[in-house]
Symmetry: C3
Amino acid sequence: MHTTFQIETRGQGSYEVTPQIAAWVKGRGDGLLTLLVRHTSCSLLIQENADPEVQTDLLAWISRAVPPATDPSMCYLTHTYEGPDDMPGHIRAALLPVTLGIPVMGGRMRLGTWQGIFLFEHRSAPHRREIAAHFRAD
Amino acid sequence: MHTTFQIETRGQGSYEVTPQIAAWVKGRGDGLLTLLVRHTSCSLLIQENADPEVQTDLLAWISRAVPPATDPSMCYLTHTYEGPDDMPGHIRAALLPVTLGIPVMGGRMRLGTWQGIFLFEHRSAPHRREIAAHFRAD
Amino acid sequence: MHTTFQIETRGQGSYEVTPQIAAWVKGRGDGLLTLLVRHTSCSLLIQENADPEVQTDLLAWISRAVPPATDPSMCYLTHTYEGPDDMPGHIRAALLPVTLGIPVMGGRMRLGTWQGIFLFEHRSAPHRREIAAHFRAD
């Protein structure tokens, strides 16, 4: 009922994890799936997974709303010793979800037609990320 | 234990859904309610439901923070062929929640006095929206 | 399986609640923890709890992104009679989470090494805040 998904990231952006999560709940009947990303500089999004431009634009928006610490608008930051993408990564991880609750029926997540689950990485360097997952059958 | 709520929206803004959800959990005793909105351009908010000006101001803020694609500040967007409110709707749906977990005691959601549940629509045209709901009794 | 945590806040900022929540789930085995903050002007964050500068910077960012109603950029707000920090508090409470779902194994939350749980207060005056908590054993 508990597992951990591991995702290797290669810089900022979206990494779809829908297939491995769908495979894990398949055959488990009805219940509730809960996901928690175990890090403070990445997020867990349910987003459009049909057109990759959506992910590109989302990254472009957040990169302007919460720019790197080297941007003059971020001159007030104090937690900067881990690099210019670190504190902005924490802010982005506060703004965007880190936990998701998803009803499951007949072994399928009740996502909409266009919804996929993404790990959204906020750091520039490659990272190994973990998503804690819990499924409870009804 | 599973159901779907349907909401007809008529443009951007907040649509309170507290009464129908409260009616569905009534009489079910103690447990956990989970809600998931099955779309990529609307959100699910727990917000102040006493003064409608709160919803007006919230829409005004998000409309400035994530303006339509026709706004010069959004010139970098690439996913624009579904209209100027489409990609901003996806961004708003990443920023604001799409899932909620709500403890229930004695058939009542443990919301605070001023809290209501709203579907927050990001598209200008009318849409039929679905909220997947799951209740698990203790 | 249900409880309520009470937190006394003394102005805007982060109040860590990890220890009391960890103590409550300790010894309960495997299951799912759900938290809901019962207010419309504070949030519930999972964030870095090693360096207090992270919390300072997060408050600095949100104070610029959603400034007080007295800021000229917020002149369009209409819900202002409860003070300049009230409507911005509602907006911040829409942006940042109010519910969290956390898998628990062996009586321990499956948080990452650097993650803590914080009540994030958006109002300037002291407030007594409540977090509704639910634990369901597997």
